[in-house]
Subunit: 195 residues, 2 copies
């Protein structure tokens, strides 16, 4: 990676932390200049607008979050084991990004406003749903999961429970709600297993 690409990468990483913790409106290009130690010219050489930078910062943050959540999933053959590992990752591993889940933050931040960020959040959600839906479908095909399980509904249940519990956990500064959500979803998965 040449020096220009390295600088660009550093800007995106810093901006991802700032936007994820403070929201789109809470961060200005001056804040990014301060955090990166770059002059105005140095920053605008790489990003012509705050919107362009925020878009790339969101994609970077979301990539980190999704990678953390699907960590080690390939090591499991069985679909239910994959989903269990996914729950474990969500509760026990934290992406290297400040401010909680980039999808929840950006969805809430942009659902009434910024169309560009709203579209990114919508795509991120779709990618997450697709990952889980694909696991459930394969599990049904391999007869590890009961045939009457509706993949989209199970994916949304998992996402809803975890994201809602994350909101409570962050507000209470306690992991207990997240751990309870995991235990609940594991028990629910057990009822979806083909016996």
């Amino acid at each position: 990676m040449n020096k220009g690409a390295q600088t660009r990468q550093r800007i995106v990483a810093e901006a991802a932390n700032l936007f994820n913790a403070n929201g789109y409106e809470g961060i200005s290009m001056s804040d990014v200049m301060e955090a990166t130690g770059l002059e105005k010219g140095g920053l605008y050489r790489h990003f012509s607008s705050k919107e362009e930078l925020a878009a790339e910062a969101f994609d970077y943050a979301w990539k980190l979050a999704l990678e953390t959540r699907i960590h080690d999933l390939v090591h499991f053959e069985n679909a239910v084991d994959k989903l269990r590992q996914f729950l474990k990752n969500f509760v026990e591993r934290r992406p290297k990004i400040h401010g909680g889940c980039p999808l929840l933050n950006t969805a809430v931040d942009a659902d009434d406003g910024n169309q560009m960020l709203r579209d990114r959040a919508r795509s991120a959600l779709k990618a997450w749903q697709s990952t889980l839906i694909s696991i459930v479908r394969k599990g049904k095909k391999a007869r590890e999961i009961r045939q009457e399980v509706e993949p989209t509904q199970l994916a949304n249940l998992i996402i809803s429970c975890l994201e809602g519990a994350l909101m409570i956990s962050r507000l209470e500064r306690s992991d207990e709600p997240l751990r309870n959500a995991r235990a609940f979803l594991e028990a629910h998965l057990q009822t979806q297993v083909r016996t």
Copy 2:
């Protein structure tokens, strides 16, 4: 209500919509002036700072949301019927406030920043949890709900599922995820009933 109190009330209602849809950082006192048609002096006569106004606006928005969610609950004797009505309200009734759930919005908005708003969101969550926990406790006492049900865990499960599904529903602009969350929680409640 005298004219001063009426004006104050009108400011709070307008500000509640603005802050709930755009976040604390997304709204300035000038935006509130524009929305209310008040001059600077007229606005600052009632609220000395944006922080003071945002705090009152959050309480107003949350009161509307919680009232909408507990609508008609008193008409049910049985704890499980009360919880079912609560789920129905959450999915079918929308509080008269723009921008989605004030608690989810403010929790996400303030969890890394504004301490005053964070405290308000924390209290709002506590009030919501207490309402549900109290219903579950009474249901256990009346032997309508199984003794092994842990009230806080059931309350958090309901809150997590609904708030997470609301995030998905708002992003997808479809009520389906919310309706599925309700169906799922109703089925779960059915397993918690004392038989």
